[in-house]
Symmetry: C2
Subunit: 156 residues, 2 copies
DNA sequence: CTTATATATTTAACATGTTAACAAAATTGC
DNA sequence: GCAATTTTGTTAACATGTTAAATATATAAG
């Protein structure tokens, strides 16, 4: 019985916040969740989280990377990254070395076991993404990515 | 020195995953984070989290709401909602009652103290949102919301 | 060379996300 | 009515998000 689709129900009190159903933060959350719902079960079968997948995937793409660069590329905050690195290292998916030139920096590298995960997960991941692209429309995905990027860089 | 903008750098290994920089999940995450960066400091000044704000805001909009409906509207998973409700009730921002007709259901209602938060935060929230809308373009926000909604409902 | 400042990472503390298991109440089938 | 099933909400356990503070190393100022 919550048929609050009637526009007259809103705007009767200027103190009330923006209509929840047309709010960018929640819309972005919903969309992201819907997308991840396609990937999560597959990742779970391979016993890795979304964030762990992002990290090893970036290492497979970019080779040796320090923690700051990783935080940047994977969009993970430093404290989370510290924990994720510890976990991935304990599981033998990545290796960790101190930078010889700068003792503060931590260099990350994918391990053979990590490459095995890449080889297992990558094809499935691509297939899911391509199916998504097809269903939503390749062109529209590109448009959406551009619009999202512009939103993300509004501050710069 | 990470100038991997050259398209030739990609595609040399079909095993590698989709290019990270054009991936929907991360793009959605970045965009959402950029948007929330505008709101979070303000919410922090009022000593509430983003999720707590969503909950009391929905109660202010919709009146009495049960937990399932709240989880749905605020897009918060049940276990998280349980904790958020406990916290908000302890702080006196909301009240909680058992449904007389259905003993399983928990009915939520905003408390006077919660209404005070609404009154304090709402104008600031609106101002931030409107500034964002203006900078990004009102029309484009609408288009983006439509595209995000379609992405979120692809599965239905 | 030494002190002050800046940068990179970690730790701490708390809130939320995520899945699975559980408890309690309601509904369905017989 | 009553057992089986479904629905609602909570708890548990672990991973991540978020902010602030701490630590260690590097760089700049003097």
């Amino acid at each position: 019985m919550s048929r609050d689709k009637n526009p007259d129900d809103l705007g009767h009190d200027a103190l009330l916040p923006h209509n929840t159903r047309r709010s960018l933060p929640i819309a972005l959350l919903r969309a992201r969740e819907a997308v991840m719902a396609h990937f999560r079960p597959m990742l779970a079968r391979h016993d890795i989280t979304e964030q762990q997948w992002r990290v090893i995937r970036i290492l497979a793409e970019a080779g040796r990377v320090d923690a700051s660069e990783m935080a940047d590329k994977a969009f993970i905050l430093a404290p989370s990254l510290t924990r994720i690195i510890r976990s991935l290292e304990e599981r033998g998916l990545i290796s960790k070395h101190k930078d010889a030139d700068d003792g503060r920096r931590v260099l990350l590298e994918i391990a053979p076991e990590g490459m095995r995960v890449i080889a297992d997960v990558s094809p499935e991941s691509r297939a899911i993404y391509e199916q998504l692209e097809t269903r939503y429309g390749r062109e529209r995905v590109e448009v959406l990515l551009d619009m999202l990027d512009e939103l993300a860089t509004l501050n710069d």
